[in-house]
């Protein structure tokens, strides 16, 4: 089809005053587009600009830096430490944060007593502010007055101070995160389970499938879209972790053992005002998240075919 006939057909499909409709449409869109342009798209463009300069507040002209900020990341042990910690955090929160909610959803999708009450209990941490409940965790783990630290002493860990111990601080942050997000993934899995047509189970039962065969042949394959979704948002979320690490262990934790990529960006960019360097790390994180999103699209598409 040539562009002219396309335009003619295009025009014919909505003959009633296209000009007025177009003007109305842009009026409806203008406020949102303005906000998105200034506070979403511009900052993304700006972050590339920042990363290529040696940016200082209130300087007349910003000094060009080329790729020096990226080269600095390569040599910066604190950056590698933050990346390593983020991978450590992801490696534990993602598998556990997918498996535990799936198990809970499977158990709570049956006709058991107190089902609604139990589901609400697991869901409770989801509606709370992580920054605020992280304070409670910090308090519970206080070696002098925290109840959890006191109970740990009965398990052969006397006088433990998890948040001041470089080997235990990150596990404590991981456990708090699992606790916070358990109910969220559980709800996604419950929705996924409830979307499976009941006839599939009836057919499986007629064919003599027992409970495990029903799980592997009906439930598991039917959950694959939910699985990909939960897995990808969990990984992307884990790479962007900030609240629990920042509140439970201020200052990066003992020997910077809980410093993550985002807390490091915050410290470099906002605390130290090394804006250009922080922007470079942001772009690195952006690349990681972008690749993960692409992987999700590829995975979902190839599994749908």
């Amino acid at each position: 089809m040539s562009s002219r006939t396309a335009r003619l057909q295009h025009g014919r499909s909505w003959p009633a005053m296209p000009n007025r409709t177009t003007i109305a449409a842009w009026c409806f869109l203008a406020p949102s587009l303005l906000v998105l342009a200034v506070f979403v798209f511009w900052p993304i463009v700006y972050s590339f600009d920042l990363s290529l300069h040696k940016w200082k507040f209130s300087a007349d002209a910003q000094e060009w830096a080329g790729f020096a900020n990226y080269a600095r990341m390569w040599r910066d042990a604190r950056f590698w430490n933050a990346l390593g910690n983020t991978v450590y955090y992801t490696a534990f929160t993602v598998p556990l944060g997918v498996a535990l909610p799936l198990a809970l959803a499977l158990a709570l999708n049956r006709a058991i007593p107190f089902r609604a009450l139990l589901r609400s209990a697991f869901f409770l941490p989801v509606i709370a502010s992580f920054a605020i409940v992280a304070l409670a965790w910090r308090f519970m783990l206080d070696p002098d007055i925290g109840l959890l630290a006191y109970w740990l002493s009965f398990l052969g860990m006397p006088h433990v101070s998890p948040l001041r111990d470089p080997n235990m601080a990150m596990p404590a942050v991981i456990i708090a995160s699992l606790w916070k997000n358990l109910g969220f993934n559980m709800v996604i899995y419950l929705a996924g389970l409830q979307a499976i047509p009941i006839v599939l189970y009836e057919a499986a039962r007629i064919d003599g499938a027992d409970r495990f065969q029903q799980f592997w042949n009906v439930t598991w394959p039917q959950l694959r879209t939910t699985n990909i979704f939960v897995l990808v948002i969990s990984i992307i979320g884990a790479f962007q972790v900030f609240d629990p690490a920042f509140v439970m262990t201020p200052g990066g934790g003992p020997l910077f053992s809980t410093e993550t990529l985002v807390t490091y960006i915050y410290r470099q960019g906002i605390t130290n005002l090394n804006l250009s360097y922080a922007a470079s790390i942001g772009i690195f994180l952006f690349a990681v998240v972008f690749l993960l999103t692409l992987a999700q699209l590829r995975l979902t598409r190839s599994w749908e075919d």
């Binding site: 296209p18 900052p43 509606i127 922080a278 922007a279 942001g282």
Partner: protein, 285 residues
Amino acid sequence: MADVLDSAGPGARPTTLFTTVTLVVLGLLALAVVFPFIWMLFTSLKPESEIATFPPQLLPHRWTFENYENVWTRIPFARLFLNSILFAGGVTIVSLLLDSMAAYALARLQFRGRNVIFVLILVALMLPFQVMFVPLFVTVHDLHMLDSYSGLIVPRATNAFGIFMLRQFFVTLPKELDEAARIDGCGEFGIYWRIILPLSGPAIATLAVFHFMYNWNDFLWPLLITSSMEMRTLPAGLALFVGSHVVEYGVVMAGAVLALLPLLVAFVFAQRTFIQGIAMSGIKG
């Protein structure tokens, strides 16, 4: 999604023994999950002298409301609470308006460039806040909006996810509605305001819960934009109070309980809308 918290799935009723074992395990797990909240509540009801003793006790020996009285003076709690209401409430109202206007244009109006705009919205949806908060901080600084309500609210005045979600809902409404209204001489704004919005109650309510909870609980954004205690919201204010003072944990825990209360009450009364709003936030990522 609607009955996620109270409907049963398929499958035969399990055996009694199996049910009992599952129930005990689930019950203990649920207790462990709720425990930090119980600890917060009981701590907030203890006098400070009992909080700072070893070994720590779960239950108060002497029950007291003094932490709930002191929270207003030791922390500028009323101010933090007000700021949280203005920030979360302001963003919710403004964003619902702007999101739904943009969604109306994308879902119900034929115009040149519509597909380009829709793709732009989808791109904005996928750009994570965590990777761009440093340049965003500089932008807000350059606009002289740091440490102000406008700095907190205006950058969040629209939300790509909200536009996307409402657009998906608006396209499902029958086209005949607009056509009938147009024949009756109704303008585009009239169709949007008097026909489309009233028919979208559940979708708007779900998005309202999502916006309000997300901003009420948010930590990094208010931390970034505000610098004085007068402008802090509850999460940032309480966390920084603990970071910079000799901590009176009883007072802080009383503040934490009060900060959690509004969402808890809302959850109890509007559980279904809540679950939908939260399941949606997963899509946002």
